[in-house]
Symmetry: C2
Subunit: 186 residues, 2 copies
C-alpha cells in the first residue's frame, strides 16, 4: 500500500520475481541462462538476425514468437540503410533494460508510474573504426541516458528508482564493464 | 582482381569508405557522430524504442525510415514476451557489427563471399540481476561467437577476415572494454 492506500499497477509481477529469487537461491544451476542470436549476412553491410530460443531454468526455452532484426549502415556510409546500425541496437538494449528495471523497482516500492521516457545518445569518433588514428577507440566515447518519469513519487524517490535500476541492469553492466567475447570460425 | 581475375561483388562500396577515411583524416570534426535512441515504457517490462536520426558529418542525419523495437522479458520471468530481451538486442548489435565488418574487409581484400552466418551465445547467471549473490555480475559471463563463412578464400584468409572485423568493430569494443554511461533524471 502506498500513501494513498492503493497498490501500484505497473504490470510487473513482483511476487513472481521474488519467488524466483527464492527458488534460484536454493537451486543456483537453474539460474544459468544462455541467450542467443543467429545472424545471416544479406548483402553489403546488411544482415538479418534472428532471436528465437534460449536456455534457462535447466531447459531449452522458446520466445512466444521469433524476432527478426535488420541491421545495416546508413547512406552516409555509402550503404543502403536497410536497418538500424549495430551501435543503435546496443542503445536499444540499454534503454529496454533500464526501463524494465525502473518499472520493476517501482512496482516493488509501490510507486505508480504514469509515463517513463528515456533518451539515449552515444558519442563516437568515426576515425576509430575507419582506422585513421589508433588512439581513437572504435566504440562509444560514452553514453548519456536521460529519463523523464511521471510517477506518483517525489523527485528523490524517482532518482532512487533509476539508481536501483542501474545497479541491477544486465546491459548497463555489459557496457560499463569488460565482457569477454570469444570469436571462432567453424 | 583476385586469383581468378575477377573483382569481388559483396555489395560494399569500399572506394567510398576509403574516400571517407581520407576526408575524415583531413577534417576530424566531421568524424564526430552521435547515435541516438528514444524509449517509451509501455506496460510491465515491455518498452518500445525508436531509432530515427543521428548526428554526423557536421549535420543532423535521418535514417531512410524510422525503426521501432519492442523489448520485454520472457514468460519464464512472469512477463508477456512482447519483444526480445534487452541482452538479446546486445547480441544482435554485436552480430550485425562483426558481419558488416567481415563483408567490408572481404570486399577490400577482393574475397568473394557466398554466405556468412554467425551464431552467438551469451551466458548469464541470473542470480546477479535478482540480487541473490553480490559476487555474481549482472551481465554476461562471456559471449561466444561462431562464424560459418563460405567464400572464395583459404581458411587462413577467412580467419584473417574475422580477426580484422573484430579489430575494427564498434560493438566488439563497446562490449569488451569499459564504456562510461551517465544516467540522469530530467
Amino acid at each position: 500500500m502506498n500513501m494513498k492506500g492503493t497498490k501500484a499497477q505497473n504490470g510487473v509481477n513482483v511476487d513472481a520475481l521474488l519467488a524466483a529469487r527464492e527458488a534460484l537461491t536454493a537451486t543456483p544451476q537453474a539460474a544459468q541462462f544462455r541467450w542467443r542470436a543467429t545472424c545471416d549476412w544479406v548483402h553489403g553491410t546488411h544482415s538479418r538476425s534472428t532471436v528465437d530460443g534460449f536456455f534457462g531454468l535447466g531447459a531449452e526455452q522458446k520466445h512466444r514468437t521469433t524476432f527478426k532484426f535488420e541491421a545495416d549502415h546508413p547512406e552516409v556510409f555509402a550503404s543502403d540503410d536497410h536497418g538500424a546500425t549495430p551501435v543503435e541496437y546496443v542503445l536499444v538494449g540499454l534503454a529496454g533494460c533500464l526501463t524494465a528495471g525502473v518499472a520493476s523497482v517501482a512496482q516493488n516500492r509501490n510507486i505508480q508510474l504514469r509515463s517513463v521516457k528515456a533518451t539515449l545518445e552515444g558519442a563516437m569518433d568515426l576515425r576509430g573504426i575507419l582506422g585513421v588514428d589508433a588512439d581513437v577507440r572504435n566504440g562509444f566515447d560514452g553514453i548519456k541516458v536521460r529519463f523523464e518519469i511521471d510517477a506518483d513519487a517525489s523527485r528523490e524517490d524517482i532518482e532512487a528508482l533509476v539508481a536501483q535500476s542501474q545497479k541491477r541492469s544486465a546491459v548497463f553492466d555489459i557496457i560499463t564493464n569488460p565482457t569477454n567475447v570469444a570469436v571462432e570460425v567453424k
